[in-house]
Symmetry: C2
Subunit: 240 residues, 2 copies
């Protein structure tokens, strides 16, 4: 769903009409784009940077329910409030347009509405995936799953060619990662360093890792899907 998912696949005239009605805005780390329980006036797309979608309990505990990367859409359409706060996780540039304007465009271009429906369906899949992670997996499995998802994200292009050095760039701080994985910075730190000790990965710095043994990582994740994937990759490498 990432990598300019929405921009692609949309006809030029539609895209131009979106551009005409939008403006680019910049946000610094921690800036609020939309507050929780606040009216959604704008929708838009991430140009560069990372947005975090988060929800808060009455005593301040927070859960990140999604990270938006360049190309992803943000903002709740057809509803005034969505009960998620949107904040910049780093220096971020957005293309923003009026919600009502965008909803009107949806009615005008069925192709656009179809595209939005598809992307929402993918978001729901991701959310359900994350429920499995939060509800069933222990910290090590959560970290392993997250790393494999990051690997998958840059995957498609590189996967077809040589496997090459699998270097992961974590797009957010440890604090945000903890809120995303439903755990603490300390537990994540311990898990990552244990993976380093075991030789599953090499720690370049706190935000960059080189995956040395993706099969082992897949087994540690407890996720059937990754275990199958990595097994296939392994066979392919052996054959080559």
């Amino acid at each position: 769903m990432h990598g300019c998912s929405l921009c692609a696949d949309i006809d030029e005239p539609v895209w131009q009409e979106i551009s005409r009605n939008s403006r680019v805005r910049a946000f610094s780390p921690g800036d609020t784009v939309t507050g929780e329980a606040e009216d959604t006036i704008f929708v838009g797309f991430v140009i560069s940077g990372v947005l975090r979608l988060q929800k808060t309990l009455s005593d301040g505990r927070q859960q990140i329910v999604g990270l938006l990367l360049p190309g992803d859409m943000f903002g709740r359409i057809f509803s005034r409030t969505s009960d998620v706060a949107i904040e910049a996780a780093c220096e971020t540039r957005l293309c923003q347009l009026n919600r009502a304007t965008f909803e009107a465009l949806l009615g005008k271009y069925p192709q656009l509405e179809r595209r939005i429906l598809r992307s929402q369906l993918e978001r729901l899949d991701e959310a359900q995936n994350w429920m499995l992670l939060l509800g069933c997996q222990n910290v090590m499995e959560r970290v392993a799953t997250f790393l494999l998802l990051q690997l998958d994200r840059k995957g498609p292009e590189e996967r077809h060619g040589a496997p090459g050095p699998s270097i992961i760039a974590v797009p957010v701080s440890r604090t945000d990662l903890a809120a995303y994985l439903g755990t603490t910075v300390e537990s994540i730190s311990r898990a990552v360093h244990e993976l380093g000790r075991k030789g599953v990965l090499r720690i370049i710095d706190s935000r960059h890792f080189e995956i040395l043994d993706s099969r082992r990582l897949a087994r540690l994740s407890g996720r059937t899907e990754f275990e199958h994937d990595m097994e296939q990759n392994f066979r392919r490498e052996l054959a080559a």
Copy 2:
């Protein structure tokens, strides 16, 4: 989103065309409607009973990522597989139709597609809500949140009239509830009986509770939204 959400709001001719292409099928508790990672051939609506959407880890741990009640739609459109299994949680009757047929109807009736988009957006909201529950809340808070959601579900009709006796019917077994709340049957049992001891609710039987103190329950849930709601209800009762 429940209570024949999709059936309502759809024009008669569209509804007739759906009916013409669908058939009713019955499932017994534990029956599989669609397996995990299995091709989605059918989509449809729940007529009566309860469906559970669940995901499984390689060692068998399961998370229920959604419960579908009468009126809810099931089946992943625009994608062959969705990686969630759909099973009957009790005696359940479905109205089922071919996925391709339904997708064709979506193109033919923009009104229907709009309706589906809206319902998917609501599902995503629910999913994000559940991520907060699974990621941040302790067992007592999860149980309280679940009970309040059940109360809300039957709420709208009764809320406007007299508050009346607030009796909750839990639609699933303890085992399913545990898999939904990301905990164990034992922990749920302890939480419910503690609520009974505290006088927050009266246990009628293991699936029926009468809520005696919804304000207290709201405070125990840690959810700002419920705390506000219940506070308002309380004031309204005092005024009356």
